[in-house]
Structures are given as C-alpha cells and as structure tokens.
Amino acid sequence: MRMICNSCRGEYDDVGPDGVLYFHACAPIIRARVRRADGTTAVVDPANVRQDDARIGDVVEERPDKRDENTARRDGDDPRQRVIRSEGKGATPKAGR
C-alpha cells in the first residue's frame, strides 16, 4: 500500500516489490553552518545560505516529530512484544492507490 508520512510528507510503499516489509524512517533535517562575512557563524536552512557566506559544515537534527517504523523491544514486557520506535504524526494511505 502506498503511504504518505504525516511527519515528513515522504511517500513510500509499506511492502517492497519483493514482498519484504519496508520500514519508513523520516529523513533528518540538515542545516548549514556558515561563517558570515562579518566573521560570525550561524546555522541556517541550506536554502537561506547567502552568496557571501562560507559553508563550514552541516548540522544534522532529527525531526521533532520523526516517524520511525522500525521496531524495538518494549521495556518491561515479554521481549517478544515489539513496538514501533517512533509514531511521529502517523502515516496515511495515499488516495487512489
């Protein structure tokens, strides 16, 4: 089934063409660390890097509402019981598929 992640708006099939389950995990947010013309540094969205900025690195941040469909053992319960790592905002079947 074609799904849309409500956290990152990414689209994916929950089962691959080979029948193997697919576990979506949201991409992190990547920001640019730049040195400004006045010598100060700042962390900005890559789309907002100015022409006179020097990009000196990237800052990787997890999305605050990250969805990660991979599973983990549930603490304190039967170890065979597993839960989704991070629900995020959930996922919705894509209409028309």
Binding site: G10, V20, A47, R80
Partner: protein, 277 residues
C-alpha cells in the same frame, strides 16, 4: 542362559550409535529469523523409542517476516534422537533470508536450559540443514541476499534518507535517484553520506554541479568512478564499500539546496544479511 534376542526387540544403542538419548523433559527449541513473508520452517526427524522402533516426527513454525526471532518447541518422547532436518516451505527465499537454530533443551518456556545446538544456519526451500551432518554456522557465513529496494520519495526541500531496518545488515552495492532543481540560481552539489544514526562516518561527493531548473539522474556504485555525462543527464558517484548495521543511514547531503529542489525515490541494490532482533 537367557536368549537376549528374545527379550529385546532391538538393542537401541547398537542400532543408533550416534543418537542422543532424551527423556520426556527434553525438547527441541526452534528459533527462526526471516525477512520474507509466508516462510514456514519444517522440522522433521526420527527417534528410536525405548522399544527400539524408529518413530518419525514433523512440526512446522511460521517464521516472522520482520527479521525478529520466532520461537517454538517440538516435544520429544523418551528414546534416542537420531535425525533432525530443517527446510523452508511456503516461500521462495534466497539463502540469507531465512535462518534457523535448533537447540536441544531441558524444559520449556523462558526457563528452558539449552543442552546442545543441533542445527544453526541459513536455509531455503532447496537447501536443507541436517543433524547430524550440517555445520553450525553464523548468519554472516555466506553472501547476503541481493535485494532491489525502493525507498521513500521525499517531499521537496528534504534530503533522501534510508535507514537499514531493524534486524538487518546492508552492504549498499548501488543506488540511483533523480534530483529536480528549482528556478533559484545556485550550483548544487550532491553528496551521499553514511551515518550510524547520529554521526556521519563517510561521504562521497558527486564532484559535479547541478544548476537551476535541471533534472539529473545520480548513480552511485561501489565499483564506480565519479563523473558527469557530457550531454546526458547522468552523474556518477563512487560509493565506499561499507557494511551498515541496523539503524545506520544512507542519505544525501546537498550543498546549496533550494526550497523547491526535489529528490525522487531512491532505488537501492543492497546485499542483506539477517542480524537478528
């Protein structure tokens, strides 16, 4: 003088010199891992009961398809366990997609004590494992299963990011994706990064720019060299040959990415091993 042949139907130790004597408290603990749906582990074998008669047994376990462990118990009678064999039924699997371990245990449930490991290794519908006979091997003893994986199609202004699933180990042999750039003037350069879920430990840059309002197809391969097509739309990236554990990520990092830049879904060719979860 007593004629022993008239009192013993068959002297079992002579008939089964390689068998293991088991009591009614001993069982077979079956533990499987699989990444494909509908895989059933068929366990069969033969015992010699106390009367010296061979008694066949057969049991099945439906493996989980999410690479997590599935366990079940095959109860044994008193006698000599002489043969055990395992095979996959119900699914077409590559060798590294189903893994099974058969332990001889005393008792049942969480308190069962493992006494011996009879079978451990990868198997499928064509290749059995057998005790006695097969070697006890690890999940990574042979080559991984080759899988073509379609990843997530990210929204605009979001990088590609694929996470190695729980219970798996990946070697990324190739990947391909498209990047459509918006109208904002800037030279984008794409790099492919590998991280451990937090920190990047490898990066491979395209070494070629992509300007505004263009569509470029990027191909990364561990045997490739980097370069850009002269008149076509292809850009090649040489990938490092690394093995990634569960939770590690393969992602893009785009210098000068603009708000309307949009990646398509990546297609990856990975070699996958079960890791157990």
């Amino acid at each position: 003088m007593t004629d022993r042949s008239s009192t013993l139907t068959a002297p079992a130790p002579v008939l089964a010199p390689g068998g293991k004597y088991v009591t009614g408290d001993d069982n077979l603990l079956i533990t499987s891992y699989a990444s494909i749906p509908n895989a059933r582990i068929v366990i069969s074998g033969r015992m010699l009961n106390e009367d010296g008669r061979p008694v066949p047994f057969r049991d099945e376990q439906a493996a989980n398809s999410d690479r997590t462990a599935k366990t079940s118990v095959v109860r044994l009678a008193t006698g000599w366990l002489t043969d055990v064999t395992a095979i996959v039924s119900g699914a077409s699997a590559q060798l590294a997609q189903v893994f099974v371990r058969v332990d001889l245990v005393r008792g049942d449930g969480a308190g069962a004590q493992v006494l011996a490991t009879l079978i451990q290794g990868a198997l499928n519908a064509a290749q059995r494992l057998a005790w006695p006979g097969s070697m006890v091997t690890s999940m990574h003893a042979a080559g991984g299963a080759l899988r073509s994986v379609l990843g997530t199609d990210p929204a605009a202004n979001v990088e590609i990011s694929e996470t190695v699933p729980t219970g798996a180990r990946w070697r990324v042999r190739a990947l391909r994706f498209a990047l459509v750039t918006d109208v904002n003037a800037a030279n984008r350069e794409v790099a492919i990064t590998y991280d451990d879920g937090t920190t990047v430990y490898a990066e491979a840059a395209a070494g070629a720019n992509q300007a505004a309002s263009l569509t470029r197809q990027y191909t990364g391969a561990i045997t490739g060299v980097r370069g850009a097509a002269a008149t076509g739309s292809g850009i090649s990236i040489a990938l490092p040959d690394l093995t990634l554990l569960a939770g590690h990520r393969i992602a893009t990092a785009t210098t000068n990415r603009q708000a309307g830049d949009n990646y398509g879904a990546p297609q990856l060719l990975v070699e996958e091993w079960l890791e157990g979860a």
